[in-house]
């Protein structure tokens, strides 16, 4: 079952959202609604599901409704219509008290502007969620300390947010969100306010943390590079509508429309696409093949080079036509003598950037006669 399932979610800003909702459902455009009724359509029929342990990225430009979306999940903004099922029960139907309970125990949130409490030091900021829950002082400070250590802020416990750099402040924000051990982490443009180097560092940090914690994360961003780097799946919003949902590779290789494609244009594909996406099916030769036979098959396939595998189809190395010919003239019965020094290998999920580095670092085996 999905951790969070969103069904036909609408948010309309204005004094009479429910009247306008009917028009939105009839398919009147966002601009027309604004001109005719003065209402702004924030979210228009969003349906998606977020799986347990997944990093789900919602991306879009400003005004696309992505921040509205994430605030609907914890009801900082009240949706106009639709359902948000959290472990199967509808968040939008919860009473005020239950919403508080949900926020306290199951949801953590990280903000673009950090939104730390300037009058509290780092420990008190991180422990805030626990304080709200009524956890005794001693215990909440212990638990806060643990997360301060995890995000690498040991030694800054008593500093105030104003004394820390942007990156460090957002580490506090992250620790504050994690301190209550929430099931779902909502990250609203969490790294957008940081400079590129620090942003990259924080992304790595999040990936590292996520490998240990396996939280369900809803990550909002306007940066496709970031979306593709962090997301197991990415949803793209435009004008409050869901344009496409897919894995990073799907978004890049198979954009549904020009909008998504335009987004993907500036992305460094070598960082997104993996070896899997570009690999071809090879016809390897078993090592037991006689050199003469090998020469024939390579000639047929117009290959100057081929991959050699053992009886279990495990990769052993490459042979060139030249080496095979030499082995044949030596009278070898198999290809073992013709195997070239083992060529570099890559795993299917290695990104192309890494493959390029491999290729650059090593001269290819001699292509032989051709």
């Amino acid at each position: 079952m999905a951790k969070i399932e969103v069904r036909n979610l609408y948010k309309i800003f204005g004094p009479r959202p429910h009247e306008v909702l009917l028009q939105v459902r009839d398919g009147v455009s966002k601009d027309e609604i604004l001109a005719k009724t003065g209402h702004t359509v924030g979210l228009d029929d969003i349906s998606l599901s977020v799986e347990q342990g997944e990093t789900f990225v919602v991306m879009g430009l400003s005004g696309s409704g992505k921040s509205t979306f994430v605030r609907c999940v914890n009801r900082l903004i009240e949706a106009t219509a639709g359902e948000i099922l959290f472990d199967g029960s509808d968040v939008l139907k919860l009473s005020k008290t239950d919403v508080k309970q949900l926020r306290r125990e199951k949801l953590g949130m990280v903000f673009q502007s950090f939104a730390l409490f300037p009058h509290r030091n780092v420990v008190h900021n991180v422990a805030y969620g626990l304080q709200v829950q009524g956890v005794p002082r001693e215990e909440r400070h212990q638990r806060a300390q643990r997360w301060i250590d995890v995000v690498g802020l040991t030694g800054y416990e008593h500093a105030r947010p104003g004394q820390l750099s942007g990156g460090m402040q957002q580490r506090v924000g992250l620790a504050r969100a994690l301190c209550t051990d929430p099931e779902v982490l909502l990250m609203d443009e969490a790294f957008s306010a940081l400079d590129p180097l620090i942003r990259r560092e924080m992304q790595d940090e999040l990936i590292r943390l996520q490998q240990e914690l396996h939280k369900t994360i809803i990550f909002i961003t306007h940066d496709l590079d970031e979306a593709l780097r962090l997301g197991d799946r990415v949803a793209i919003l435009k004008d409050g509508r869901l344009v496409q949902i897919g894995t990073p590779v799907e978004i890049i290789t198979n954009p549904v429309d020009g909008y998504v494609e335009a987004f993907g244009r500036d992305v460094n594909r070598t960082r997104v696409l993996t070896a899997q996406a570009i690999m071809d099916r090879a016809t390897p030769i078993p090592v037991s093949t006689s050199p003469r036979q090998a020469m024939n098959s390579m000639h047929e396939l117009h290959q100057g080079i081929d991959y050699v595998v053992d009886g279990n189809r495990r990769y052993l190395g490459v042979v060139t036509t030249e080496a095979v010919a030499a082995a044949a003239s030596r009278g070898d019965t198999n290809l073992a003598g013709a195997l070239a020094e083992s060529a570099p290998t890559a795993a299917p999920n290695d990104v192309l950037e890494n493959l390029l580095a491999l290729i650059g670092s090593q001269p290819p085996p001699d292509r032989g006669a051709r």
Binding site: L76, Q101, R103, L116, F117, G162, Q163
Partner: protein
């Protein structure tokens, strides 16, 4: 009710005199607000006089105690204490020493006792101002309807000539210090209310949102986040209220406030410029002390600058 029957007769008279309405302002149309107010006040005092008496006695008791305590202490100890507080608030030693020395000079004018009396009145009126102004300010910041109602009332209160407040106070409490304290309180409370409201509403919305995102209740957000972050502005409100209270303390001498104000009034009545100047200087010193102390604490509570 009485007022309604009065309103009825007023309407009859008014319509009867409509004939000559264009030549002179119709006499029957005068609104007797004067009489209504006076009648209302009279019935208020007649029916609830005992409550005013109780309040009067309580405030008077506290005032006497405070005055007595401050006057019983050796003058140099009080001055030293004020100096230390000023130092603690502002962090400037020179300022504290200067203020203490000015107090000594006032003592040499022979105004030490009057200064202490005024200080006691100020302390009580200010406490009252904060006790009433803070909750109203909080309500204004939280409830839109309260804001819509209170704002025009405050506008009216602040434009009303301050002398007008003196009269009903005499009605309720008779001539004397308590009437003066309440007149001061009414004159000084608007900035306290306004700046509390403003401070709470100026708190960074995103920080408030963060607190809510962690499931904080309205009360938790108020106490834990909004009030602490609004403190600099609220302290500015206290500061403004005190400055207005000092101004009113002089005017309130007309209804029996003792202290420096009475000294100024005496100077006016006797045409004694020197007497007025001495008392006036003492008030200036008192104002500077109270201003620096409250402004100093306001600055120390400001976390937006990042230091401390």
């Amino acid at each position: 009710m009485n007022v309604f029957s009065q309103l009825g007769t007023w309407f009859q008279e008014c319509s009867a005199s409509l004939g000559s309405v264009f030549s002179t302002f119709p006499e029957g149309c005068q609104i007797p607000l004067k009489e209504w107010t006076n009648d209302g006040l009279k019935s208020l005092v007649r029916n609830y006089g005992s409550i005013f008496d109780v309040v009067n006695d309580q405030i008077l008791f506290i005032l006497r105690r405070l005055e007595g305590a401050l006057l019983a202490l050796p003058w140099w100890l009080v001055i030293l204490a004020i100096g230390v507080v000023a130092w603690h608030a502002s962090g400037k030693r020179g300022l504290a020493v200067g203020l203490a020395l000015s107090l000594v000079v006032i003592g040499m004018f022979g105004l030490w006792e009057d200064t202490v009396r005024t200080l006691a009145i100020m302390l009580i009126a200010t406490t009252l101002t904060v006790m009433v102004g803070l909750p109203i300010g909080i309500l204004m910041a939280t409830i839109r309807a309260v804001r819509a109602t209170v704002n025009p009332i405050l506008d009216g209160m602040q434009t009303m000539p301050s002398f007008v407040y003196l009269i009903p106070m005499v009605f309720f409490f008779g001539l004397g210090n308590v009437a003066a304290i309440f007149a001061i309180f009414i004159y000084a409370v608007p900035p306290m209310i306004r700046l509390t409201n403003l401070g709470l509403r100026l708190v960074d919305k995103q920080v408030v949102e963060a607190a809510e995102a962690f499931g904080a209740s309205t009360v938790q957000v108020l106490w834990g986040v909004r009030l602490p972050l609004a403190m600099p502005t609220i302290m500015a409100g206290v500061n403004q209220s005190i400055m207005m209270a000092l101004a009113m303390a002089v005017i309130a001498s007309m209804i029996g406030a003792r202290g420096l104000g009475a000294e100024v009034l005496r100077g006016v009545n006797n045409g004694n410029v020197g007497q007025g100047l001495e008392a006036g200087l003492a008030i200036v010193v008192l104002a500077v002390i109270l201003d620096r102390v409250t402004a100093g604490y306001g600055r120390r509570l400001d976390y937006s600058t990042g230091s401390s």
